[in-house]
């Protein structure tokens, strides 16, 4: 078993650079998720680790071996494709054992490995079927089984849940989490555009944008302490509220009292829905008129429109008596994030006491 280390990895297609110098260290046995919007290069990066894409510059190491020029099959990796990529004309059993058989492994040994993997995934009864006789979830398991049979150091998952329906996606997500526990020490690299998948599965999340790493960290680290406005907005649901700040003032002219040496540089204020609390009339920092109330049972998301026309959202406890078109005041009670004009976080800035509510 071994970890994966990417050092200043670059990839370009002609003049177009799609991966612009990426450094990532994935520890042995870690579950690492690459997340980012489509086109950020996360799949390309995974395929570079797999060996399906060539590396234009930099180094990829698996364990202590540099694998840049190794054939995909010699890297000790196995991949689960988004479309599963099962061979349609082969049975499940042959699908799983195909690679080993073609490489001259004895039939009995292949059989034993396939049976073992099938047992882990509970697909023993499906071994004689063809892929088209399986449901989406079953195909997904076979694809994972094919990876397990190869007994790789590193498992690579390329958006494996995106072809499943919503319910199955949640169930399979749990299965993959369990599997990681079961396969002691297996390193897993997982690509997704869904931040919920990233948050629930990962030991470590790598947020990518435009071929660059935006931030690397544990899920809660990214949630609570994002490095920049992109990560802050990408991680967490509902999305963090951002309000433009100009010269210590909110767009409607209400003053903000900030402390810290960089407080002059603040351009944007970020606050999550659960950090906004309803305040008495005239006591809040932000005011707004309720436009939609989403009742989820355990919480209510109140969407409101500010005087300057922005839609923001606040999380209320269940049973809050809020109706559409109510005018509300909100206090910033939880953690508030500050970003400069480039979107970088300003960690030493803080709210200076409770802001005084006053009409401008």
């Amino acid at each position: 078993m071994s970890g994966v280390k990417l050092t200043n990895v670059k990839k370009s297609y002609g003049a177009v650079e799609v991966i612009r110098g990426v450094d990532i260290v994935i520890e042995e046995g870690e579950f690492c998720v690459f997340v980012g919007p489509s086109g950020c290069g996360k799949s390309t990066l995974l395929r570079m680790i797999a060996g399906l894409e060539e590396i234009s510059a930099g180094t990829i190491a698996i364990g202590d071996r540099r694998v840049n020029d190794l054939d995909p099959s010699q890297r000790g990796t196995a991949m689960v494709f988004q479309t599963y990529a099962l061979y349609p004309h082969m049975t499940v059993e042959r699908n799983m054992g195909f690679g080993l058989l073609m490489n001259g492994v004895a039939k009995s040994e292949v059989k034993a490995k396939v049976d073992k993997a099938a047992k882990i995934l509970q697909i023993e009864t499906l071994l004689n079927r063809k892929p088209r006789q399986l449901s989406g979830g079953q195909r997904q398991r076979v694809a994972i089984g094919r990876a397990i049979v190869r007994d790789p150091d590193v498992f690579l998952f390329d958006e494996p849940l995106s072809n499943l329906d919503a319910e199955l996606r949640v169930a399979t997500r749990l299965e993959i989490a369990k599997l990681h526990g079961q396969l002691q020490g297996a390193t897993m690299v997982y690509v997704t555009h869904d931040q919920v998948e990233a948050m629930t599965l990962a030991d470590k999340i790598v947020v990518l944008r435009d071929g660059r790493v935006e931030q690397i960290g544990a899920p809660m680290e990214l949630y609570e302490d994002p490095d920049n406005i992109f990560v802050a907005g990408f991680i967490g649901s509902p999305k963090m509220n951002f309000v433009e700040v100009k010269g210590d003032k909110l767009p409607d002219g209400r003053p903000l009292r900030l402390s810290g040496s960089q407080s002059n540089a603040v351009a944007t204020l970020g606050v999550r829905a659960d950090a906004l609390e309803r305040a008495g009339p005239g006591a809040g920092t932000i005011a707004g008129e309720v436009s939609v109330v989403e009742r989820l049972g355990d919480a209510e998301f109140v969407h409101f429109r500010t005087p300057w026309g922005q839609e923001l959202v606040a999380r209320f406890p269940p049973g809050a008596a809020v109706r559409v078109r109510d005018s509300l005041q909100f206090a910033l009670t939880g953690k508030v994030h500050f970003f400069d004009a480039e979107g970088r976080v300003l960690r030493d800035v803080a709210m200076a006491g409770n802001p005084v509510a006053a009409e401008a």
């Binding site: 370009s12 297609y13 002609g14 177009v16 799609v18 390309t44 060539e54």
Partner: protein
């Protein structure tokens, strides 16, 4: 994203041409068998035809001499060449419209999805297509024979004619008889083309028309025909080009006779190159020149087809 990266992959790594060729060596290996066949029997003969057409060459193994365009000049004054050329196109004009109309009528009838035996009928109509031309030729020669042939027997018995007609032996009738045989042999394929075209008419249109109380023939005239009309161009040209490829049928049936009255272009080329009348040498260079001229004519026709197909496609794209 993956798709784009795949397209961009070509030449992305900045390797030299030599390196890229070496990297693809397995691909070239895969190509070898196909390219050998292609090169030897398609590409090379194409080039060689042009070269041979400039030679005075009296037979395989015989001495040949370069004479420039003299063969072409001679062709322009060759009665037989002109007649054969004319006959080829006449034959095409005689067969293609019939084949198209008969094929379309059969296709409209057989396209009925409630007609359980449609595939059986289609197979029966298709049988002459798969039958070897040599067999068709010999069966037709016997059936149409003026001496005890069953067709003449039938015609005489029903008093449609008083004396046996020699359909393949009369210079006036032979080309038309051959055209009839040709249409019979190949209509099956036109039928299949039309059936493919009819698949593009959505079922809903029939159903909507039925609910509106439109009569069947009106549906055909106003809905089906306008939709499949664009295909007529393609099907017509495919049929036209195959109608110029009649060598097997004519050689096997009449060998161009009687008195050259069914000698179409290909038979003329064959006779000039391989089976000279007694006392003459085979003239391979001369035959090649005739082949090149006729080949270019067909190529022009094919290019017309491509343009027509493009037009149809564009129209379809606009309609969608």
């Amino acid at each position: 994203m993956a798709a784009i990266s795949h397209i961009l992959e070509r030449g992305a790594e900045g390797a030299t041409l030599g390196q890229r060729i070496w990297k693809s060596r397995i691909d070239y290996l895969f190509l070898i068998p196909g390219m050998l066949v292609f090169g030897a029997f398609i590409f090379w003969p194409m080039i060689a035809s042009f070269y041979y057409s400039t030679l005075d060459w009296t037979g395989f193994g015989a001495h040949s001499e370069f004479i420039g365009l003299a063969n072409y000049a001679e062709l322009l004054n060759d009665e037989f060449f002109y007649s054969a050329f004319k006959r080829s196109f006449l034959f095409m004009l005689a067969t293609v419209p019939f084949q198209m109309i008969v094929g379309l009528m059969l296709a409209i009838v057989l396209n009925n999805k409630f007609l359980k035996l449609a595939t059986v009928f289609r197979a029966m109509i298709f049988l002459p297509v798969v039958s070897p031309v040599a067999v068709i030729a010999i069966v037709m020669v016997l059936m149409l024979s003026p001496f005890n042939g069953p067709i003449n027997g039938f015609l005489i018995e029903t008093h449609l004619v008083s004396r046996a007609v020699d359909l393949l032996g009369s210079p006036q009738m032979v080309l038309w008889t051959l055209a009839g045989i040709f249409v019979w042999k190949w209509t099956g394929i036109t039928l299949v083309y039309w059936l493919a075209a009819l698949q593009t008419v959505p079922d809903e249109l029939y159903e909507a028309a039925k609910l509106d109380g439109v009569k069947t023939w009106q549906v055909i005239m106003h809905i089906v025909l306008p939709i499949v009309a664009p295909f007529a161009v393609v099907i017509g040209l495919i049929s036209a080009i195959s109608a110029l490829n009649v060598f097997p049928l004519i050689q096997a049936t009449t060998q161009g006779g009687p008195f050259f009255s069914s000698e179409v272009m290909e038979v003329y080329i064959f006779r000039t190159a391989f089976a000279p009348s007694s006392g003459q040498f085979p003239r391979l260079g001369y035959a090649s020149a005739a082949g090149v001229i006729f080949g270019l004519s067909i190529m022009a026709l094919t290019i017309l087809q491509v343009i027509a197909v493009r037009r149809v496609r564009r129209k379809e794209a606009e309609n969608v």
